[in-house]
Symmetry: C2
Subunit: 331 residues, 2 copies
């Protein structure tokens, strides 16, 4: 296992990604503040390049590779958002990319990954081991493996979202950021955000938010060991179905996090509808779980401001229409 | 007719609204830039309080009223966005509000106006005169009339969006802002934006963008006189159906604008779909027409950066679902 990143790695990542990544806005809504009884800062990573925070970590890792050393470019595995981030980062860096994606990933995510020029290798999420497929491709092609979360450069890159949130909270006059809620699967975003916030808001409680039934991180934080999910399918939050916390992310998160929260699919859909009506932002189910936790009262503000990461917006139109109450049954 | 506002009135309005209005972000997208071959700065007024730029002008006008002088509060007429902006501004200022709205306004806009505590007075857009109804209410109740666009404080308030856009363009390293495209109906936003930009980017060409068949502003700019639309219904751009340019707004716009562009309903819907997929922003049809003009090639960039105002996002879910290709027929 590599060493976990430190705060300085996040500050360095921020400089590295500055020309290519978006400094996403923090959105505040009077309606949301009234609804939960606190100032809520929504970090809109939906507006990040490729539609999710994943571009940050992917670019921070991939832009360090010398093209002549990696004739096969990069290989990674992803349910869709890291796929898009890595494919776009590779394109910008002049590297080939092959992405191992589950055959049941949303069509939209597969198509958007392909348009960055990446080769897509589909696998069966319930029967095949994506890491094994990816590592075999790397060996065959002399390609670099870019893990979706368990890598110091990836974690540091995702942490830049937390660094920006801290700076934006200060600029918005926030003195006490009491909690930040972060959608989590492998835990890379949460680890990076927690590292960044510890520097700026020492007392801030950082929570992972997961779909019900996929709360491996919450259970791992409670037990102190990396627990697994019992199931591998069965939530609309396609971005959040990783079966177990990362080794490296868990090493960071177990010492820095306040705990884990879980929301139902219905609560995630209701948060998507809230984001549509009140924030005018497009969120995907997995991207909306932190907002959902706040709206559903899973976290109750205690007087300070609360940060929420809206982590991704890559959602098929049919599912989005259903979430806002205007769709037919899903095909 | 009052005197048109000057640049200083916009700067003053910016200070007045600062505590209550949102400084909305400018969103930039690599996909959009590639698509049109220029840097495009999208000013996301969809993220403004009440979901459109209208809160700016309404608050700038209404916050100057002393409650004891206006026991009946404020009265205005609006197809929906000014209604919400004025109702919310009145609520914040402790004033009553009565809003004269067309009976065929989107249900969502009527409901959102009502929740700010305003009284809604519905009228028949094809047979009744909304101004007459509003003025009768004002006389009856000792209420102040807050016009939706033809008022110096309203124009100056809307101009703060242009002031922010200019500052944000500078901060983003834009040296030449060659054009800004603005959705227009009465022309208040355009007039304010043109006044603000003239100070910061003297060579910037400002265009009004209207729905086809409702291009009274474009024809007025061409003829030099305030022309009328032949029709009063028949576009999905419900926010942009005013029949004639305002007197005051036209006095400003005729000297400052480069011209007018028009887009079809289909182009507006395609721009809504683009905003959903690529920008992850929710736009209503009328709010998307400036983006539509750019995407449809009605304006072709000549090497500099282009600003686009995404002016509102208050759209019924069924229409939104249809725009993104996931809805059934509209009821």
């Amino acid at each position: 296992m590599s060493a976990p990143p430190a705060f300085e790695d996040i500050a360095e990542a921020a400089q590295r990604i500055a020309g290519e990544a978006i400094r996403t806005p923090v959105v505040e809504s009077a309606i949301l503040n009234d609804r939960v009884g606190a100032r809520v800062l929504v970090k809109a990573e939906t507006l990040q390049r490729t539609g999710s925070f994943k571009f940050r970590g992917a670019y921070n890792a991939i832009s360090r590779l010398a093209a002549h050393e990696w004739p096969g470019g990069v290989v990674t595995c992803s349910s869709g958002n890291h796929a898009q981030g890595a494919a776009e980062a590779a394109r910008l860096c002049g590297l080939k990319a092959a992405i191992v994606m589950p055959a049941d990933a949303p069509a939209l995510k597969i198509e958007r990954t392909r348009r960055s020029g990446a080769e897509i290798v589909l696998y069966d999420r319930l029967r095949e081991d994506r890491d094994a497929i990816a590592r075999a491709l790397c060996a065959e092609r002399r390609a670099a493996f870019i893990p979706p979360f368990d890598h110091p450069h990836v974690i540091a890159g995702q942490g830049t979202a937390g660094l920006e949130l801290a700076e934006q909270a200060r600029a918005a006059g926030v003195e006490a950021l009491e909690a930040v809620l972060v959608p989590a699967s492998g835990g890379g975003l949460t680890a990076g955000v927690a590292l960044a916030l510890r520097r700026h808001f020492q007392l801030c409680a950082v929570y992972v938010v997961e779909p019900e039934g996929f709360d491996d991180y919450a259970r791992s934080l409670a037990s102190g060991a990396r627990e697994k999910n019992a199931q591998a399918a069965g939530s609309i939050c396609d971005a959040l179905l990783i079966g177990q916390p990362g080794e490296l992310t868990f090493a960071v998160n177990r010492t820095l996090l306040a705990g884990g929260l879980a929301v139902s699919d219905e609560e995630a859909m209701a948060a998507m509808a809230f984001a549509f009506h009140e924030l005018k932002l497009v969120a995907e189910p997995g991207g909306a779980v932190a907002l959902a936790a706040l709206l559903a009262g899973r976290y109750r503000p205690r007087g300070g401001a609360v940060g929420v990461i809206l982590s991704g917006g890559n959602v098929d139109p049919a599912l989005f229409a259903r979430a806002i109450g205007a769709g037919g049954p899903l095909s």
